[in-house]
């Protein structure tokens, strides 16, 4: 634990939440820098060049989405958003502004640490985009092949593109808009029913129990998340 695993900037106005983040992230070996407000946070991101930023969306002085925007102007550093459950719209706004993922308040440390690990790993070595294991299923994006225990599963080109788009952000949430734009094109950005229909097909083909998906996870009102075996 002596060696730090990276620096994390916490932009959060509540001192008690900062304290608990500091102790739990610090306990895991991360170095923690704290900003009590949005303006300051956007500046600290430039000053300290952290490996990851955690931004609370409910800051008093500056909208958290604006903080994300300012950081994204110059840096691709991973950004995690903290927000309340009923704030789906601001979650989407934050993700569209460039945040990588979110945790919903109130959260346990376990959940937060898992998100931090995924985001850091992703920044350090982006998914190769070659092959992926989902339980018994193996996806080979180069050969455009999906197999279950060696037997081929037939996937349509659209289904493959959908999986590839999710796999690019492995373990992290991808918004409906993002998926529709990348898979079907910008003119289909509002066609959510496409996603519903294709996700159902994909789950039926890939998930052992499509009603209780373990890999193609729904983030209601926001988007989808692909979880592979190791994530």
């Amino acid at each position: 634990m002596a060696e730090t695993r990276g620096t994390i900037l916490v932009v959060e106005d509540e001192p008690d939440i900062r304290r608990f983040l500091r102790s739990s992230l610090g306990g895991e070996g991360y170095k923690v820098v704290e900003s009590p407000a949005g303006q300051r946070g956007a500046l600290d991101a430039g000053l300290h060049k952290p490996d990851l930023v955690i931004v609370d969306l409910g800051l008093p002085d500056l909208d958290g989405v604006e903080v994300i925007r300012r950081i994204r102007e110059w840096s691709p550093m991973p950004i995690l958003v903290v927000s309340a459950r009923t704030q789906e719209r601001s979650k989407i706004a934050a993700l569209d502004a460039g945040a990588d993922d979110y945790v919903t308040k109130p959260f346990g440390v376990g959940e937060l640490l898992a998100r931090v690990r995924v985001a850091l790993r992703h920044a350090l070595r982006p998914p190769s985009g070659k092959a992926l294991g989902l339980g018994e299923v193996t996806l080979d994006f180069e050969k455009r092949r999906a197999t279950r225990a060696g037997a081929e599963i037939r996937l349509t080109p659209i289904e493959f593109r959908l999986l590839a788009c999710l796999a690019k952000h492995l373990g992290m949430v991808v918004t409906h808009r993002q998926l529709l734009r990348e898979v079907w094109g910008p003119s289909h950005a509002e066609h959510t029913h496409y996603l519903r229909i294709y996700m159902k097909q994909l789950r039926e083909k890939l998930e052992p129990d499509p009603v209780r998906p373990r890999h193609l996870v729904t983030e209601t009102g926001v988007g989808y998340r692909l979880l592979a075996d190791e994530a």
């Binding site: 493959f160 029913h193 996700m199 159902k200 998906p213 729904t218 209601t220």
Partner: protein, 360 residues
């Protein structure tokens, strides 16, 4: 009484009532004295007063006097009057008409005031019940949190097992409190009418999957069976809110039935609605009006766990916002079903070209 055209409807009503009274009067003329015909006009004034505001009522009085004079008082067919005693009749008719309009409008104002008072009293009653209910349901977790955390802080000699048990109970109760608070806030938002539905195409199966994932710890004690037809259509709903309905119903079922009880979720589309049922095969509900369950502070009988039944009130508010209905039903044998409906809309087709989109 608020829309701009209403005033004109009132005046139209005044004219129509006068015409009707005149026609009736003309029919009666051969057999009745003129004073009886005057009574018919007063009846018209009362009718207008009951239905409309003051101004149309006064107009009816004036029109009635004019029509009575013109059609009935000799010489008929003219506004002149032979016998001056009819001037008294006119004054009486006008006077009675004005008094009636005054009386009805003040009676109506009083009725409004009373309804408003009753509503305020009801709101106050609900607020008090809500406060006492919340404070009751918050007291236990708060007591646990204070006790456990102070004991963690004060006693350095606790063995690791004890420490983690205390920490876990703090976490559990804090989470309960946070969910209770979320429910209270949601109910407030729903009631204030400040929620605009974010309708979008959603798949019920997918929403259920998300709920089962979110509630996996709380439902771990029960067996949940999902039976959805393969061709269940998509619905255009606010996914976050409908997920909340499913979560509340499932949580309720788990909370009010013994461990290992079977909970079954089914759905079917028929005509222009989808019906979703969450059934449990537990001990069933006690006798009584099932609709009351959806009132704000009802709990199913026999439960000592928190949750004060806000959940069902929230379900009802959400389902109604979507144009659906929700009701509870005693299952034959034992157990309870909660059924709710959601209106169906035709799902737009996926253009064939989109399926064959260039690969790459």
């Amino acid at each position: 009484m608020s829309w701009p055209g209403y005033r004109w409807v009132g005046y139209g009503g005044a004219a129509a009532a006068t015409v009707a009274a005149t026609l009736i009067g003309l029919g009666m003329r051969a057999h009745f004295e003129l004073v009886n015909i005057a009574m018919v006009y007063l009846l018209a004034v009362v009718a207008v007063a009951l239905r409309f505001t003051r101004a149309p009522t006064i107009l009816t009085s004036v029109l009635s006097v004019a029509a009575f004079d013109y059609f009935f008082v000799p010489p008929s067919g003219a506004f002149s009057v032979e016998d001056p005693q009819y001037l008294v009749t006119f004054a009486m008719m006008l006077g009675v008409g004005l008094i009636i309009s005054q009386l009805t409008s003040s009676v109506r104002a009083r009725a409004h005031a009373q309804a408003r008072l009753a509503l305020e009293a009801e709101t106050e009653r609900i607020r008090n019940a809500l406060l006492s209910s919340i404070s009751h349901d918050l007291r236990t977790p708060l007591a646990v949190i204070c006790g456990a955390s102070s004991s963690l802080a004060a006693r350095q000699t606790l063995d690791p097992d004890e420490r983690s048990a205390l920490a876990q109970s703090i976490f559990d109760h804090a989470r309960d409190m946070s969910e209770l608070l979320a429910k209270v806030l949601e109910m407030t938002r729903l009631q204030s009418g400040s929620i605009a539905l974010q309708r979008d195409w959603a798949s019920l199966g997918e929403l259920l999957g998300a709920v089962l994932r979110r509630l996996r710890e709380r439902l771990a004690t029960h067996m949940v069976m999902i039976e959805l037809p393969d061709d269940l259509p998509l619905v255009r709903v606010d996914s976050v809110l409908i997920e909340q309905v499913l979560a509340n119903l499932l949580e309720n079922a788990a909370k009010h039935t013994p461990p290992r009880t079977l909970i079954r979720v089914r759905a079917q589309a028929a005509g222009d609605a989808m019906t979703v049922s969450v059934e449990d095969f537990g001990p069933g509900l006690p006798d009584g009006d099932l609709d009351q369950l959806f009132g704000k502070f009802e709990r199913g009988g026999g439960s000592h766990r928190g949750g004060m039944g806000l959940g069902l009130a929230i379900c009802r508010a959400i389902v109604r916002l979507h144009g659906g209905t929700i009701r509870a039903e005693r299952l034959p044998g034992r157990g309870t079903a909660f059924n709710f409906t959601l209106p169906l809309e035709p799902v737009p087709a996926i253009a064939a070209a989109d399926c064959a989109v260039q690969s790459g």
